[in-house]
């Protein structure tokens, strides 16, 4: 059983309530970018082994999107954070 803490609900919930929503913090290029830049934005992901920074949605719960810093080999979760918390930090 894989449990994730939702920062909005403030509780540990089962993974079935969540939906994986891809790598976090992908920057959308400006509209005058090249085809290569656009292709990179749409298709290419860093795909690391080990620590990943990814988005999860609490799909069956509060339906909010947040950030999970997770090890994709061991499933250890280092941190669960809201997008706002990164903004405050910056």
């Amino acid at each position: 059983m894989f449990l994730i803490h939702c920062p909005y609900c403030g509780e540990l919930r089962d993974e079935q309530e969540y939906r994986y929503a891809g790598e976090a913090f992908i920057q959308r290029p400006s509209l005058d970018c090249t085809d290569e830049q656009w292709g990179d934005y749409v298709f290419n992901r860093t795909n690391p082994k080990g620590k990943t920074v990814e988005q999860w949605a609490h799909a069956a719960g509060c339906r909010k999107l947040f950030v999970v810093e997770r090890n994709n080999v061991t499933n250890e979760i280092y941190a669960v954070r809201t997008f706002e918390s990164y903004k405050e930090q910056a």
Binding site: C9, G10, E11, D14, A60, G61, C62, R63, K64
Partner: protein, 186 residues
Amino acid sequence: MAKFETALEGHDFNALAGNGFQVSEERNYGYVVLRIRPNTAGAAEALTQLGIQLPNALGITGALDTKLVKWLSPDEYLITLPLSQKDAFIKDAKAALHGIFAAVVDNSGGYSLLKLSGEHVYEVLAKNCVYDCSKFLSEGKVISTLFSKAAAVIYRIDANNVYLMVRWSFADYVFQALAISSREFR
């Protein structure tokens, strides 16, 4: 006026009833979704005017016979109130929240509300939920989770009953899941 029917019209709730588990359908309620951030300018006054107090995360305020306000998400609240008061409330709410960044949406007819009771209620829930209701669903708490494979809002406002709200399109599915999972308690 057209005949009032719910999604579970004609379902035999007595067939589900046993000594330790009962289900009934709560038919006469309206469901209004209020989208607002609690710290929005002017929100506090408008909500006071409407007699609404916004609950904290996973919390509930008010009462079913007036307005039961349930937390769904940081900017989303579900208000369950008697169907007869629903239209007037929406009109008042839209007037009170005019000019404030908020939305009031009528979801009546979109949901089915079931009341579960009996000593085996948490055993029936445990068969269907990934959430441990017997341990964590305390009185005055609301959770959005899965009931079997259907998205559900589950809450408790008193000691004896558990309320289960699902979309009307999943109501039959949930009824069948309840029928199967409560069979051993009949």
